[in-house]
Every structure is written in C-alpha cells, then in structure tokens.
Symmetry: D3
Subunit: 290 residues, 6 copies
C-alpha cells in the first residue's frame, strides 16, 4: 500500500496540531514513550519532529510532508514545496512575528545602532541575513532559550519570536524592527509532490485541515423570518456567502440558515432581533468547506 510519511511538529504546536487533525477526521494517538504516534489511516505514517528541523527532513526525503513555521523554512533554507498556509492556534492569532528587541531604556533606535553589538537569537541565519541587508556588522550568538532575559546583561539586543508581545513587555523590552511574519505551513518534499498518489493524499488532508480551521472561527445561525422582513434581515447578514433560505409550511415564513464568523455574532444578534427575526439559534460546527 502507498504510504505518506508525515512530520508532526513536536513542542508548542503539538497539541493544537493533533486537535486540528482530530477535527479534520484523523485520530493521532501520541504515546509519551514514542516519537512515532499512531494514526487511524493506514495510508499515513507519523513522526514527531521539532518545528526547527522539519523542513530539513522534508527536504532530504526522510519525510514526505510535514507542518512547520514559515520562519523555520526560511532559517534552514530548505527547498520544499509550500502547499498551504494553515493559520491555527487554540489560544491566539496563529501568526507570529520575529522582532529585533532591546531594553526599554537602551539607546539603540534602529538596526544601524547595532554595529559592533552582541545579538542573541535562536534564528542565527535570519538575523545575519537581516544585518547584511542593512550593512551592519554585529556578533550574533545562538541562544539556547530564555532569550528575552538576556538583555541587557548578556546581550545588547535579541531577535525573538512573539505572538502578542506580552512576554516582551513583561521583560521590559522595546521592539525596534520586525524581521519576518510567520504562520504554520504545510510543506511537501518536491519529489513527493510530483507523485500523483502522494499529491492527491496531501491535497485531501489540506482540504480537511482547512475545513476544520474555518470551523474554529465560525458558527451556524438559524432563524425564522416573515417573508415581508426577509430583505431587511438579509441586508443585516454579512455578504460573504449566500444563506440557505427554505420555505416553511406556513407560507408567510421562511427559515434562514447561514454560517458566519463567531466574532460577529455579538453585534449581529441584536440587529437581527431588531429586524424581527425569530427563534434565533446559534450552533457549533466541525468543518466548513466552501
């Protein structure tokens, strides 16, 4: 049987990745003693790999496909197929930024002030490339962790990843510049991408992962509306997608069923009530595929 070797990111993305696959329809069963989690699909073999190393192993064919951050694809410089961006994260935006940061009261105001300084970072190549682009010479040191606390005692500046900036603020750091915006990417080995079976398998996985991600931020909304109010109600709904309108037994009424972004509900429901919609019901979704 054909089989797709899939890299699952170990570490901070691990739990949300496994949950996302569960929503998409694949149960990955992690065993704390093994780096080879089970999956209920005989056509896939999983391996846990660090996000930092994923692109390297997809590039050299040890894996056919995997999920990792755009940042680490660039940092490793690996030649892989970037199949799709998958913006997910249970607790935040799903997007991160790599920033140059210094102590709040540092005299450093721009990249040019880094000349001759020491910069600590986990992303040494990204930082060196950035400095080269600006013609600045500085010493870039690999940081094994806790990069934020190194300024100012152990380093003059850092290049660090941040989602909300709260960890930077808590460490009294000031952002000087943004080097890169990044999100999770589904990547494929280039040979695997040319193999028709593997490509279709990858595309189907991505279709369902994407359907699950869409469902995270969307809900279903049903309501009954008098025919005479229909236009007013439809005008209230976001124009994105046509809602499903069904005739009820009672000829004077229709039922509307639509999918909307969850964050708009709290503005929308008061307006729908104002437009005389009745029996407004919001229900949860597992997947949304347009």
């Amino acid at each position: 049987m054909s089989c797709l070797k899939l890299g699952v990111p170990k570490g901070s993305l691990q739990d949300s990745t496994i949950e996302l696959f569960a929503k998409a329809g694949w149960r990955i069963s992690v065993n704390s003693r093994s780096y080879y989690p089970g999956i209920d699909d005989p056509e896939i073999e999983c391996m846990m790999v660090r996000a930092q190393e994923m692109a390297r192993y997809v590039e050299n064919g040890a894996l056919d496909a995997g999920l990792t951050g755009k940042d680490w694809i660039q940092e490793t410089g690996a030649a892989v197929e970037e199949v799709a961006e998958l913006v997910y994260s249970k607790t935040g935006l799903g997007r991160v930024r790599w920033v140059l940061a210094v102590a709040e009261d540092s005299s450093i105001q721009s990249v040019r002030d880094l000349e001759g300084k020491v910069i600590a970072t986990e992303a040494v190549k990204m930082t060196e490339k950035y400095l080269a682009k600006h013609g600045v010479k500085a010493r870039v040191e690999f940081s094994w962790g806790a990069t934020e606390v190194k300024v100012p005692q152990l380093a003059d500046a850092i290049v660090e990843v941040t989602e909300t900036g709260s960890s930077l603020r808590a460490n009294h750091l000031r952002v000087v510049d943004t080097l890169l915006e990044s999100a999770t990417c589904f990547i494929a080995n280039r040979a695997a991408w040319k193999d028709p079976w593997k490509r279709e398998k990858i595309e189907n996985i991505v279709l369902l992962l994407d359907g699950a991600i869409k469902a995270y931020n969307r809900v279903g909304l049903m309501m009954n509306v008098r025919r005479e109010d229909l236009d007013k109600v439809l005008a209230t709904l976001p124009a994105l997608r046509n809602p499903t309108i069904a005739q009820l037994s009672d000829a004077g009424w229709v039922a509307i069923n639509t999918i909307i972004e969850e964050k708009t509900v709290r503005q929308l429901i008061p307006k729908l009530k104002g437009a005389r919609a009745e029996g407004i019901v919001e229900y949860p979704l597992n997947k949304v595929v347009y």
Copy 2:
C-alpha cells in the same frame, strides 16, 4: 472611545461567569497575577471583584456594571439598578438559599428559640434584620469561614448559604427557616444606566448572556415526519415555541426542527418514535434568542 467598566465576580462564580461570557461571545482572559482580566472588546474594561463587594463598588461608580448575587445586594444595601436575573451555574440550579440552621439534635425549633443565643454568619445584616422582624434578641457574630462546623461548639445556630443542602447534611445540621432565596443578578450603576450608550451596551451584553444561558439547558431536535403523522407528532412536542416545519422534496414528508429543554428529551424521544417520527437527531446549541 466609550468604555464600560464591568465587575466580574471573583471566587466561586468566577469560572462559570467567564465560561458564560465565552458562550455569549466575549473572551475574558484571566491572568493569575492580575485583577484586570483582558477582554476581546475594546468597549469593555473588566475588573475582578468579590461578589460580597460588587454592589458597593457599582453603587459608588467605581464600576458601571457587574454580576453578583441578590443576597449581597441586599446585605450591602447598595442602591443599584437590577438589570436582569441570570440563573446560571455549571453544576447545579443556579439558585441558592440562606437558611437558619442548628445541630440536628438541638432544642431550637423556630426563630423564637434563639433568644439570647449566639449565631455565626457571613451575612450579619441580613441576620440582624431577620431577628428584628421576629422581635428576637441574639448575638450575631461575623464568621470568617467554615460556618457549618461552628455548631454546636462555637455557636448555637448559623445563617448560611446552601444550594443543595448536602454540606448542611454532612455536618449534621437541621434547617429551621429560610431567610432569602438568591440568584445571580446583572446590576448597573444608576448614572450609567441613564447614559444611552452604556445602557445599550449593557442591554446587548445581557441579551447575549441570556441567549447563552438558554442554550445551556436546551438542545436542537430534528426529525422527518410523514404528512399524515404531523399533527400527532406536533401534539407530542412541548407547546412552548412553534417548531420550524419545512417541506421536503418528497411531497409526503416534512422536516421538523425545534428547540426543547434538554431534560425533556429522555421522555420525548420514546414518544416521538411511537408517533412514527424518523431520523430523530439531537444536536447541541450555542445560543438561543427568542
């Protein structure tokens, strides 16, 4: 930008309140180190405040609105607008009673037997008012906690809050009288309530909180019914709200979609089956707004 200062009750109501706001559409992010939780609505500023102190701070305008128990509004005697009662609680009824309780084998049988006795309670004013109403003189001592275990060693009787009575029974106490029934209330500062922007904001929040509470105890029910069975099936359904009836492609059938209280489902489904309903499906809800 206008902003509503909202008090979130710290303590036993905290987790269910935050979950309720999440269901209603607002993500409150509590940080264990701060009493100012974040909220994903720039028009609201949250502060964690004890239920016992909430009414006091809403009254004096330190907060525009807040959630607390009816009991503590009365105990503090604060002059606030009681916007809505919100009966919620993840694990029980959402309603509590303040009762006068004594040891099972105590000779005290009614409030009149308290003359000259010692009563321990967290609600000193409520207890004193109650005694005064009955013309009884007794010593009321403020209890800093663990009130149930004070009888009979440290007090002759207690006035204590109870939801199911199980803690009273476990401590071998007998309820003599009920002083007050209480539930959670959404309260507003009186000046804030007169401000049009704040009032609309408060009303929208309450509308959505109420929609989420309704969804806790309700589920959706769909089924297909032959035209000839429709009346019988409809007679089986609770009369509360008209169900949505849609014509199916097959002219002999209609689809019924209705919202019912979860606790009635286990009686209802056997009856619906008996009335030849087919493909009965129960599904979960996020919000219900009539």
Copy 3:
C-alpha cells in the same frame, strides 16, 4: 414510586459509562466517598459495583439491571437477561478479547502444549472450561493483577484481556489463541424484566444510551446543491439512510441534510466538492435515533 436499582460498573468502564449516561440525558453524580452515586431521575437508584461482580448481584436481585462485560457474565455463569450489547469506549473499539498468551520465545505453540503447565489468569473458570474442551490438564492460578508480567518467571502462560494488544506486545508476549470476544452488555434481572414498569424503563434507557452511542461516531452534514447535480451528489452519499432534501427559495437549488459516520467524512468531502456541492458544513450531534 416505582424505582429501578441500577448497577454502574466501577473501574475502567466507570468514566465512559457516566459520560454515556450524560449524553443520553441522565446526570450521574459520583461522590468519591460513596458507592451510591446520585442521578437526576427519581425513578432510578444507582450503585457502583465492580464489573466482575455485577452479573452475580443482578442475578440475585440485589440490582434490577446493570452494565458489565459479556466476559464476566460468562465467568460468573449468572442467569440474567442480556438486554442489549452497547459497544462504547472513549478511546478505542469498545470490544475486547480474552487471549491465551505466552512469552515470545516460548516453545508453546497451541493449547495442547499446556499439559502440566501453570497458567495465571483473572478468569479462572473461563480458562478451566477452555482447557477441558481441549482435553488439556494444567494448573490455573488466580492472578490478583499484573498478569502480563508473570510470564515466564511466575507462570508458563496467561489468559488475559486485551483491546489493542499493545500491552501484550510491550511485555513481549505472543498470542496463541482467542478464548472469547466481549463487549459491554446491559443486563437485567429476570424477574425485573417481567415487570412491565421496569421493562419499559429499561427499554427507554437502552434506547437513549444507544442513541448516544450512535452519535459518538456520527456527524451531521449539510450542503447546498444545484437541482441538476442532485443525483450525482446523492450517489456519492452512503446509501444507509435517505438524506433530508429541502427546496430552497431559489428554485434551482436544494439543501441536503444527512447523518453519516464520522470516519467516512474525510473520504466523502473531497468527492462532494468534486460533485459541485456548495457550502458543505459538518456539525456535531448529541443523539441519533433511527
């Protein structure tokens, strides 16, 4: 009031049983200090009983009904009514096998090689019956636990229960034969089963437990389809149940709503998209009663 005495299995099945009842519509509240959990139905009284002892106590009328494994019904030889098989389990298949296993490198290849050997097991009678059937004489020792690790130091072979076989593999054991396949059973006392009130109560409980189990593995699927594509889309859907097809306001379109097995979704959605279905939405279910 009539009352059904119901045995809830203590131990490995406990949590999933309580969750299943919750899905079915009954809240069982376990108290760590009591073997008599509460239930929000005045017609039922619960008692926690070990699966191994359940059939014995249902047989002698201490309980009217209960849930236990088919294996323990046979092991105890209790004369009870097997009302329904309920294949549930949160984490696996819900079915288990009792197998004869030996050390990987043991010379034992079949039941016949057990002559004169020592076999450790929790199911002494099942093992003795099996040996008798094959005319083999061996010493069967009751094992108080950790049966898998007894081979080869403390026993030559074991008879042990397994769901996925992973524990056997981890202990380097080889399966020689399967003695019994088992799943959870809802059983009733024979006198209780003849009592009309108790029988109807039991049947209603089983109907709703079964509805909840069906919902574990199923999801709802809605989509909009052009009239002209309807046949193609319907051909794609599993033939099990007729989907609900409703006419939309726009005469060229219909809405399809159907219930399918969750594990088929990941194959189905790509095909539905290929058949031009639009706005495909998957939503979760609480109960499914055909």
Copy 4:
C-alpha cells in the same frame, strides 16, 4: 556470582518498603513500566509481586525471599520460612486486624448468627476455616474490592482488614469478632534458607531492615549534667539501655548521650529540665542496632 531473588510487595506496602530499604542501605529504583525494579546490590534481584501472591511464589522457588503479610501466608497456606516480623508503616501502627463486621443496626451479634448468610471477603479460605471452627454454615463470596460498602445491600456480613477501624466506622459497620492479627513478615523459601550464602545474605538484610525500623521510632538525646545531678538524671531516663556517659574537660560535668523512643520525649524533656540537665539536644537517627 550468587544472587538472591527478592519479592517486593506491590501495592499499599510498596512505597514504605522501598523507603525502608533506602533507610537500611539499599536503593531500589522502581520504573513505572517494569516489574523488575533495579537495586544497587549485584547480589540481589528484585521483582514486584502482589502481597497476596508473594508466599505462593516464595514457596515454589520462583523467589528466594520476600515481604508479605502474615495474613496472606496463612490464606495461601504456603510452606515458607518466616524469618522475621517487621512491624513498619509510615502512617500507622504497622499491624492490621481481619475482622468480621456487620451493619451497625444488624441483628447479627456473634459468629453463630451467620448461619445461612452471605459473607463477602477477599480472604475466602480464612473465613471458611473460621466458620468451620465455629460449626457455622454460610456462603462466602470472593469480593473484588470495596468490601466495606457491600453490607447490607450485597452481603450480610464481611471479613475485612482494618488498621485503625476508621474506614469501618465511616461505612457504619460494627465489628463482631477478630479473626487474625497480622503484620509484615520477611519470608524465605525453605531450600534457600538452607543455602549458607543465601541465609547469611537474608540475615544481614533483616538485621539492617530491623535497624532502620528501630530508628523510625527513636531519637538521640544529648545533654550536659553536673556530676552531683547525675544519679537524678539517670533515674529519669528509661531503664532500657545504658546511656553513654563521657567525662568533659571541666571535671564537674559529664555528657550523656542516649537513644530513646521518640514518643517518650515530650514527657522526658520537662523532667530532665527539672533535674537540671543543660543543653538538651534531640537529633535524628538513621539506624539503631543493639
């Protein structure tokens, strides 16, 4: 190299046994995935075995020696050498009793009232022997656990182990009779006990385990005493063992160093102070070997 196969009791005695060996000088390293814990003595091989099964496996030579309760030695009827009683337990007395217990309000007052009744117990043989001794016929059922809660619904009486009686009281049970007092025993296989090397190894282990147990309940006590007060101070000390008396540089003073039972210290120190002892110091011990 010669090697002693030693059974370590799995379950309630496990942690205190391993701690006792640590105090005695052997580090046993339990691995949650293995029943063969490591030990830092190449002359010993450990295996975790249930207390209930220990004597059986020491009898048949699968183990050379092991620790288990006297109760289970009797219940299994195994022919083993009982080398020493080791009364230890971190939290209590280290001794347990097997008692016949009934519901507080049961009419059963003595063993004779059990005729024709049902008795649940984990110790079936001990109970049957006890009934036979008293000429009583009753049905003894093996209990898989939670024996205390079986009275009165599932059994008329139980035979159960108890240390402090608190679990019996909490379940409203009344003790009718005591069948057996038990404590932990170090047992040896009879052939191993005749082997000189194994016997010496066993005796040394027991010597050090016993030294560690003695140290649990004892402390060291040092003080300085004037020559003229020496007799009065010595009269105050327990007569058990002669204290060590050393001359100090200052000819008028001696130092006393003695080992006493910890539970006597709180009575002793006030008396020693009364007898003019100075600089009284209590210090902890690891081992005491007289």
Copy 5:
C-alpha cells in the same frame, strides 16, 4: 481524664503549625472532611479555627488554648493570657507588619493626608483606632480579600499585612506607615490558665514547641582539636553557649561538640579550618532546650 481543648489555626499557618507540633512530638492528623483533627495525645482535643476568630473562642472558653497572631488578639480585643510568642514560619521570618499603603504615585504622604479618604482593610478596628489616635477622619471599609489591588480604583489607601513587602511592590504600592508588628502567639483562656493541670500541660507544650523552633535555625557541630589549638578554636566559636569538650583517648586531642545558628556556619567553617580544627562535621537537630 483531664483534657485540653486546643485551637489550631486554619489557613496560612496551618501546615507549618502541624509540622511544628510534629517536630515537638505530637502528630496531628488532619482529615480534609473534618475540623477536628486527631492528635496522638489523649489529653488534648484539637479544633481547626481561623486565626481571626481564635482569640474570641479562647476568651469565651470554647477553647482552652490556641495559636494565633498578636494582630488578631488586638483586633478582636479579646481578654486572653498571652503565654508565649512563637516566631516560626517555614519560608520566612515569622514576623509580619500591618502597614498603611498607597499607590506609588499617590499624593498621600502621611496619615494626616487620609482625611476624608476611603481605606480598605481586613482589620477595621485596628485601622479606626490608628486614625483616632492621629485625629484623622476617614471611611474604613471591610475588605473581603485581594486588598492590595483595590488602590487606587476602589480605595485611596489600604491597611494590609506583609511579611517581605514583595506583594506590595508587585502591586506598585508605597508604605506610608507601620501600624503593628505581629508574630504567632500561644494564648490561653484565663480560667484554664489558673487550673494547675491545664497550666502545666500548656507550659510543657510550649517548652517543646520552643525547643523545636530553636532546632529549625540551629545545627550541631563536632570537630577534633589539638589541645594546643583549643583556645584559638574556642575563640572562634560564638560565645552564646559553652561547647561540650571531651577528652579523647589520644591525650593530645579533645573533641568539641556545640550547637550553633545555621546561618553562621558558612562563615564559621572556613575560620575553624584556619584554626586547624579537623574532621568538622555538621549534623541536623530535632530539638534544642537550654
């Protein structure tokens, strides 16, 4: 038998109090379901009582004795015998201060600036007495908890207890004045204190508690010293207590054994080594009674 009713402080002091009694020779066994912990001394009956309420119940004779803070004795104004101050605490100094604190950037600089302001505190009487002493009129509000976060939104100033000041700093508060220094006190009911049996029992308990507290901060130190170096070594040791000097078999050497404060060891050992002391050994203590 005579019996002493002893109050054990529930809450922050609870664990360290129980540990202190264990060191002193009494095992208190707390049961999470009961406020009457067991104790292995038939002459004592324990009850868990809040520190805030302890003095009240010792005063009225519900308890014979108890441990609480000096602060709460004063706040309640209870007439009790203060037997001994017991400065203990596992993690800090054992002493606390009640301070008047305001926001770092508040204009309030002294108690006089409080005129007309709102002060939140758990110690209402202490605060009112303090204000009265300074002739200041302000509103004192009882705080149910989280007092530090009330400034400046909910109060202008607070009166709060602090050990290290770190919580005040973390909340950006500035200390304006200290109202009271407090430590744990062993208190007795005045009638109980006059009863000879109870008084002796109390004094013995206090003697041993004090001996255990001394041992927390002290260690034993032994070393061998040449006769000729003795004076120099003795000069190095703290003068507090005469060390025990014993003649060794070898006439040129003596052994010194002394008790010193643990915090001086790190300075002392280098000096003792410099003075040619040999075989320096530090050992732990359980109790020290001078």
Copy 6:
C-alpha cells in the same frame, strides 16, 4: 559592598544545585517569573543561565563564576578558570558520558565506518573535533532535541550524553565509542579569580559546597566498645580517617564516633556486631569538612 555575580545552571541541574547550596548554607529562592533568583547573602547576585551558555558568559565577564558541565566548557572553548569539580546529582552518579551511538543492528562498528554519514548531536564542535582526530569526513547536524530517536530514520549515528545508558537501551541504540566523560565544574572568570576578595569568596563557597557533597554520601556512626575489643573494632572500620575515641565514665568502655561512606554501612554493621560493638547508631550529616 563587593559582590560576586554567580551563574546558576537552568534546566536539569537546577533543582539539585539549589538543594546543594541549601545544604551548604545559602538559600536561593527561585521565582518562576524571574531569571534572577534571590539569595540570602548580600555579597552574591545570582542569575539563571543554561549550562550550554554558562562558560561563554563567565569568559566574557558577564558573570564572575558559575556551575556548568566540563562538556560545555570544552564545546564552547571558553577560556575560564576551572576551580573545582563538584560531582553531585540527586539521583545518580553525577558523571555523564558523551557517546557515539548507532542503531543496534547498524553495520557501523567504529568511528571509521562513519565516512560520508549523517550524525545528529547537540555538541557539534565536540563531534567535529572527534571526527577530525580520526580523519573521518561526515556531516554533523545540530539536533534541537530528542536526538536518540533520530537513528536510523533521520541520522546514521548520534553523539549524545548519557548517565546510566537506560535511555539509549530503550531506544535500541548501541554505543560505539566514548568521546568525553564529564561532571559539573565550578568555574570562574580569569580576572575575577585574580581579585583577592572574589577569590576568597569563591574558595569559601566551594569549601562549603564540597562539605555538603561529602555529607550526601556519608553518615555518622557511634558505638560503645569494651577496651579489650577496641583494636578488633578499629580494624573493622575503614582506614580513611581516624575515628574519635572517647573514654566513658565506666573505665572498661570507650565510645567511638566516626564518619563513613553510606554505601559501606550495610557491610560494616554485621561485622561490627560480630566484633561485639554495642549500641551501634547511624545518624545523618549536613556537612563534612576534613
């Protein structure tokens, strides 16, 4: 005041380092939110730093001194003063080895077989130096973690640190060669080491850390011996250090007090008993300074 900037290793060594300092007499208080733990010595300022980065920051003077492994001193090539080796570890030997390991069934038998292969390791420089020494050319890839599981899918061999080898065995790896043995080292910045105040401070810290380490593996042993048995008993004791022998009041007896390695106690006590030593008592130690 002079101050020593001290690096405390973050990560696997952290807890045992802080415990060791506590034993030595310094209380380091770690705060989960800060990398600057407090210490109860105004002459020291602590900072948490990864073992991998410690030497780098001691070399450049950001820290005056610190604790790290010999391995990381070499890997970074930092020019620092290696003051003392401190072999400690709560759970093991305190020494580790960096080994070259391959899959059990790999054809690689020696370093020479690595030509052209891929080696994953956290210690890139150490590995490259080792390969160069043997004239082998291979690709060394930095591993971000979980190095053991990379063979054989992601790498042909690894260079990894191991204490007991159990993790290697669990991953079915075979050790081919040892590159380096390592233990914890106390290192100092070279300029700091020349500063008299800092050097004395460092030497005193190391003296006390060493005294605490010695006490981990040693215990005190006291016994009383008849004069006539003294030589025999002394011959039994390890020759390392002269025991302290004190004359007792009873002229026929002496007391022996000695410090021995804990692991020898279990052999020694049976022999001492055989030599008629009496009242043998083993007691715990905090520090041992010869």
